[in-house]
Symmetry: C2
Subunit: 915 residues, 2 copies
């Protein structure tokens, strides 16, 4: 902001002069500064002051912790304006102006940044304050507090010696609480504090010049931005877009001036339930920090009505004004000085999972906001938080810290507690006995799926957010912590070590999948219930959105769950997951793999057929007429082979092949880069009999289901297609098998044949593939791997460097992990190209996505923008996708209204979805 | 071809009526049919006849081995025309028309297809022939031969019993050769043959009706197309585009009618040396098959001048006419009947490696063809054949068969012989002792490179044409056979087994890299010399081409070799190959890998610096001012780790880390999909100190070389770029290091910084990358892997199914192996897009290719067509690339002239190949 060609650093606010910074964003004034300016400009009572903009802080660091040019003069000018507005002077011996100096970044960083109160007091002005308030104890207590805050915050002296002096004084006086100390006691303490200051500051006296105090305080606030705890906080919270903190210099008002004064914190609605009631705590004759410090027990806000009814009435009016103004629940700090109400802070209030939905829905019903605004306001995390169990909030942090062993990557949120087991088999056994178990593995493989499903939570030593464990667990919404680097597992000895402690099999462990933390013992968990408002809001989302939401589900259980979550079909059924379900199935698929000729392979496949047929029948029944996309076998065969001697022996007995021969076959299947190897439809090119068995199972199951009044709509999907002719060959085989069965049954059955688009070449040749393919489903997990040349399983080693911000030692090459949020620049180009090419030869081509991205908000919006018909995601992500789809529709409508004609343009964004 | 709305199957030729099929291609008439039609139409003496087109054969098989509609009637009509032209009738009792029935596909398939001669003889017409020729012996010998050919070829009877009867007859008569048998003998033999026929054909008599004979013969020729040996031949020769064979029915002429008759085979120039002399063999009073059968020793062609000077003179005239007509060396078959010359066949003559070049160059000098035509006529294989040693052609096939153990994939052509060793270390040791060794491994790894270099040839049990062994060996032009599936290696016991035979370490083995065959023992080899004409022709290629040719070279040795081969710069120096050269280097890189902090890593890197500096200095010196593109470290670090206990121990001693710790670190480096893992510039993002060391070595070496009068032009290349910002970060680091060193040296040095484009995303974002990158080099090996989702190392399992033709049990999804010839449909789109986008932001962007494709003819032409500045390939492929580049220029010019405006356009690569 420039003023007369000069950069403007400061923005004044006060009742008489108004708010200079009105309408400026948080990016300039910070959250607190913006709130103060806004309140002043709508006429609410706020003490006068000014905000030093965030730019000044950024410039301060750019200059190597030097004050930017012009700042000093401007602050001096603004102090003069403040003195004029308040009619008081800093350091005045009779009636001094006192100010608070507070930080305020664009986003709230609770407890991370510094504050200094009562600035302006010195040996002489403290006397003036004593006289004018008639309360020397108050004056010296204020001075004592100021010296302590200034010494520790601005000068970095240790807090403990000062606290000790206060403690000693109370001991000498034989009193317990601060309030029992008299003015003289505190005056003596001030002397002690000043002496301490001088002793520890190389003989310098505590600054008596208020201006010097002010500069010390301002720089202290600046410096707190780069203090270790603040940097850590930002890294943990993934805050990378902030430039610094603003500084708010505000006239002090005092809630501790007597029984006619007070202070409080309140929310315009109940932040836990969301109920439309005024909610908060207050204290009479107290300062804000007394509330925070917990020295006295605050009373409920409504009680203020009895004690200071005038102030309370004013506060209720403020509440209403603020909600009308901000159209959202607000969080306020106020002080009453001699009966007069002052607002010290106002911001959008944090709220619990249920309250989020209730407040949004209520406000629509109160006509404060529109449905569109309500939908736009909900975040994916708001939904997530509703579903996952959490460690009971009743547990004290110190107890948590005592139990904490370490942390890994928070792969799937929610908490879980149970007995530790180290093998999938043991997990299944224990679960059958009714135990809750935590499966702890170095890493998981498809063979572990049974045990993973049986476990309450999963902990692995390796892998990232898209490792096998994470992806599988996410599909079930099951708590999962991966990549726990300090974790050492001795499977043979049945024990794990983490954070220096050893946990044996059968001992209890608790995981917090939301934070990645691992705790010893079984902590109590709490599972939230879905509030009514959630259903109302998601219903609105469904009305608004233009793109369908399907689910990735492999079992009737998943399918039913997903339908409850709002899924409109299955976008991806991974048929191979069915092969792991029971030993009988595992053996049959293994028998198929070790078969040495077509006849034995067909014999083994014939054993699998009834299982698959039954599974598909279950799916069709569960989905009751909704479309079901079934992907033919995808993973490389080695994923199915026995992993240990016992497995080899068992297979040997089952097939008659020698263990030796089986091991040789398993070894043969080893690949250097299995991701790019013999998998997907390449298996069906080599072994068409697998395709035949699977298609037979699908069609027979569909015929069965349809006969029983559950009309089936199978969409048969060829995975890993890389060439039009390859697709044509397989499509021909699929149709040959399917049509023969349908004809034989004398029934009618509509089915579709389409393909995954997950190899770059398939996107490039999509026009030719679409000549035969009836639908495309973008498999953006693999498409991301191949387009970026990036293995999901291996990227954990270096991808964090690409995603982390520069400040946190990363390179900030990617805005997001491309496996979590679709890489719109690169992969997105191929997706867009694939759709455009595909529809150039088949205008009605049905297009969806079935990668992990289908449940990620930004990616869902992208999918809608490029004209997909649906997204498909894990059952637990379905509500998030419904919401994101609705938000896209709202944004697109708004953009269209703003005359931007949607979001088209040549490259980016592109057209919104179909109506 | 339709005639009056009806499909035309037959094409007549004869002196009186001319050639109906003139101007039709081989695709219709087959090679033989086309040659006959062509000769007739330019007035050369050819016996009359007609050709049944290839379409008829294709249709025959399409109908399930049934004669196409209309064919019978048309053949009957053409037989009448032939009778009219010749004035004789089939089966005539006085002067019968006899015909030969021969196959003739569009490409020569020597010995694969069937022929039946003397058709038209029966019990009565043989008498007529005896009378009219006055030579009953001749007549009955012809009849006897016809029965034999017809019985075996058309009816599938066994040949041996008939041969035995002839043998028995000679024994009974006490004679040795056939000519000693008289007419009566042969007449008796005919009776015996006919009895044999009847006995073995369910009582049917040998057909006396010439028309029945003709249909039997025609169908025999058709059927021979799908006979096992022909199918196998086509598979081996990768002939996939032929539809069937034509059938040529031609009046018989006889070279065995007396001393005034004869037969011969000749080339219009010497097919071995290429010298412009008439070259061939002939026999007086003989039939063609006598020459082939080797019963009599033929005489040199020139001797015919003395014996039948008139016919010879005519033949010399024919030679000249044909060369002028075809503008290429021709291979002729002729027969002289009663002094009259007849030409029976004419085709472009096969020739030896040297002759190919000499003939082309001579013909330019004789003004028969242009330089462009000469260049267009040479194939990549013609060049290859010049360079590689071959197993001495003096060795008999039966001796070869006896020594043959089996075959693998012919990865790098040429032959090699030497002692078997099973480890790279042993290969190096033996080679130092002066032994020629064949390195036999299950598969090779970068650690084996020293041993591979020391070996004369390499044999592996696994891998395909682009496996590690194949790629490395190809770079050196070293004989290499890979994927030898039957090969069983017991390294511990020091022996291998193949084809049921065991070869111990130290025993001799011979490899033929051109065929993939493996032989026991040390067979004699022959190494061709480069003929003068080769240099002349490649010089013309250099004049014509518009795109430069560089080489992939890692050592001064390779570089010098490549310069001799015509390389104009280095397009790819793989710096990491230098790390394997000596144990000292290996240890230094390993020390770097196991280093636990930056300081130790830098210490280890400091040890590598002088080695790299020295290597680069050698390269710059060898290239003497030519540009040198140096790629920073590319492979994943695990490729450098010690692979056995001895290596671990050694590294432990060198670094002080425990073997345990080293093993742990090596394990940590294991990746699921290393191809998509922590490699390429990702290593430099994680460890910028590696980049710093390498850039330092490059720049210091360049400064050194320039100071010594060898101006260096380094082009520093960042591998595996996937993002513009990633490139910008690394480019900045490169320039920081380089500029500081140049400034410090007070010198001037031009250098460039660019990137590989080998990840699809890099091609998609090429415009943004080119904002900072000065050059692109398409790494089409990796780009192919990622675009197709296809691991080069694993594709051997299923890719053959994709490439093999349907007839050979494959799916013919790809025209070529995409790792051998660039996939123009898919990868080509990304290449084209990358270039266009790149030049949109940097019009002068230098663009090249450094994948294996840079030395493959079709791919080189593609690179030229999309506007690349250069291709880069292995030294031994440089001449092939020079040739292909010139051929592209010739084709593009021709296309432009033809008004097609070059080869740009949106899609497909382009125009036809050479004539």
């Amino acid at each position: 902001m420039a003023k007369g060609g000069k950069k403007q650093w400061c923005y004044f606010f006060g009742r008489k002069s108004g708010a200079e910074g009105r309408g400026l964003g948080k990016e300039i004034l910070g959250g607190k500064g913006q709130g103060l300016a806004e309140m002043v400009s709508i006429g609410l009572p706020v003490p006068a002051g000014f905000t030093i903009a965030i730019d000044a802080c950024a410039e301060y660091f750019r200059l190597g912790r030097k004050l930017p040019k012009g700042l000093e003069a401007e602050v001096r000018e603004y102090v003069r304006r403040l003195e004029k507005e308040t009619g008081k002077r800093l350091g005045d011996e009779r009636d001094p102006l006192l100010v608070s100096v507070r930080s305020g970044a664009a986003r709230s960083m609770p407890g991370m940044m510094e504050t200094i109160l009562n600035l302006g007091l010195n040996d002489r002005s403290v006397e003036g304050l004593a006289t004018i308030t008639g309360n020397p104890r108050f004056a010296y207590d204020s001075y004592r507090r100021f010296i302590q805050m200034y010494s520790t915050t601005a000068m970095g002296l240790s807090k403990e010696p000062l606290e000790q002096k206060l403690h000693d004084l109370k001991a000498r006086r034989g009193v317990k609480g601060d309030p029992e100390l008299g003015a003289e006691d505190l005056k003596a303490l001030v002397a002690e504090y000043k002496a301490f200051y001088k002793a520890n500051m190389k003989g310098q006296d505590f600054p008596q010049d208020p201006e010097q105090q002010l500069w010390g305080a301002i720089q202290a606030v600046f410096n707190s931005w780069e203090a270790e705890k603040a940097v850590t906080y930002r890294r943990v919270e993934k805050i990378a877009d902030l430039k610094g903190t603003a500084v708010n210099i505000v006239q002090m008002v005092f809630g501790n001036k007597g029984e006619n004064s007070g202070t409080g914190v309140c929310f315009t609605r109940d932040p836990n339930s969301g109920e439309n009631v005024f909610y908060g705590d207050c204290l009479i004759n107290a300062q804000g920090e007394d509330v925070v410090a917990g020295i006295r027990t605050p009373m409920r806000l409504v009680e203020l009505d009895k004690l200071l009814p005038q102030a309370y009435k004013e506060l209720v009016k403020v509440r209403s004004i603020l909600e009308k103004h901000y159209k959202d629940m607000q969080d306020l700090e106020f002080t009453i000085e001699d009966g007069k109400l002052y607002l010290l802070q106002c911001r959008t209030g944090k709220r619990g999972p249920s309250a989020t939905f209730r407040i949004a829905v209520d406000m629509v019903q109160e006509k404060l906001i529109t449905k569109e605004q309500a939908v736009a306001r909900i975040s994916p995390e708001d939904i997530e938080r509703l579903f996952y169990p959490v460690i009971s909030p009743d547990i004290q942090r110190k107890d948590l810290d005592a139990a904490r062993l370490g942390a890994g990557i928070n792969a799937v949120p929610g908490a879980a507690a149970g007995k530790v087991v180290f093998t999938a088999a043991e997990a299944e056994r224990q679960a059958q006995l009714g135990a809750k178990v935590i499966l702890v593995r170095k890493e998981t493989s498809p063979e572990d799926v049974g045990g993973m499903h049986a476990a309450a939570g999963i902990l692995t030593a390796t892998g990232g957010k898209t490792s096998h464990a994470a992806v599988v667990a996410r599909g079930w919404g099951k708590c999962c912590v991966v990549g726990c680097e300090g974790l050492d597992i001795d499977e043979a000895a049945g024990r794990m070590t983490l954070g220096g402690r050893t946990i044996k099999q059968g001992e209890a462990l608790t995981l917090d999948g939301s934070t990645g933390e691992v705790f010893a013992g079984e902590l109590p968990l709490r599972k939230p219930e879905l509030p009514k408002a959630y259903h109302t809001l998601l219903g609105w989302a469904d009305e608004l959105r233009t793109i369908k939401v399907r689910t990735n589900a492999d079992t009737p259980y998943d399918a039913e769950n997903a339908v409850r979550m709002g899924a409109e079909g299955i976008g991806l059924c991974r048929t191979e997951h069915m092969f792991f379900d029971t030993e009988e199935r595992r053996l049959a698929i293994q028998e198929m793999i070790v078969a040495e000729d077509l006849a034995s392979r067909q014999k083994a496949l014939a054993k699998l057929l009834p299982f698959q047929r039954e599974d598909f029948h279950g799916l069709f029944t569960a989905m009751d007429g909704r479309p079901v996309t079934i992907r033919l076998i995808d993973p490389p065969l080695h994923e199915f082979t026995p992993k240990d001697d016992a497995g080899v022996e068992k297979l040997s007995r089952a097939t008659g092949h020698s263990p030796e021969a089986i091991r040789r076959r398993c070894e043969q299947l080893h690949e250097s880069n299995p991701m790019l190897g013999h998998r997907g439809c390449r298996l069906c090119i080599t072994y068409p009999e697998i395709l035949e068995m699977q298609v037979k199972a699908i069609i027979l199951a569909a015929l069965d289901a349809s006969k029983k009044g559950k009309p089936a709509r199978p969409e048969i999907m060829i995975p890993l297609t890389m060439d039009p002719k390859e697709f044509t060959i397989l499509e021909g085989q699929v149709r040959a098998v399917a049509d023969a069965l349908i004809k034989e049954a004398g029934s009618r059955l509509e089915y579709m044949v389409g393909t995954m688009i997950e190899i770059p070449r398939a996107a490039l040749l999509a026009d030719r593939i679409a000549e035969r393919a009836e639908f495309f489903s973008f498999g953006t997990n693999d498409l991301t791997q191949m387009t970026l040349g990036l293995s999901r399983d291996d990227a954990g080693r270096f991808l964090p460097d690409y995603v982390r911000s520069e400040k946190d030692g990363g390179k900030a090459i990617f805005r997001d992990d491309p496996f979590q949020s679709l890489d719109q620049d690169g992969v997105g180009q191929l997706v867009r190209m694939g759709i455009q090419l595909g529809r150039s030869t088949r205008p009605k081509l049905k297009v969806g996505i079935c990668g992990e991205h289908g449940g990620e908000s930004r990616s869902v919006k992208f999918c809608a923008s490029v004209g997909m018909d649906y997204v498909s995601c894990s059952p637990y992500r379905v509500p998030i996708a419904r919401l994101a789809a609705a938000q896209y529709a709202v944004e697109a409508k708004a953009a269209a209204k703003a005359g931007k004609g949607g979001k088209s343009g040549k490259g980016k964004g592109g057209k919104k979805g179909r109506k």
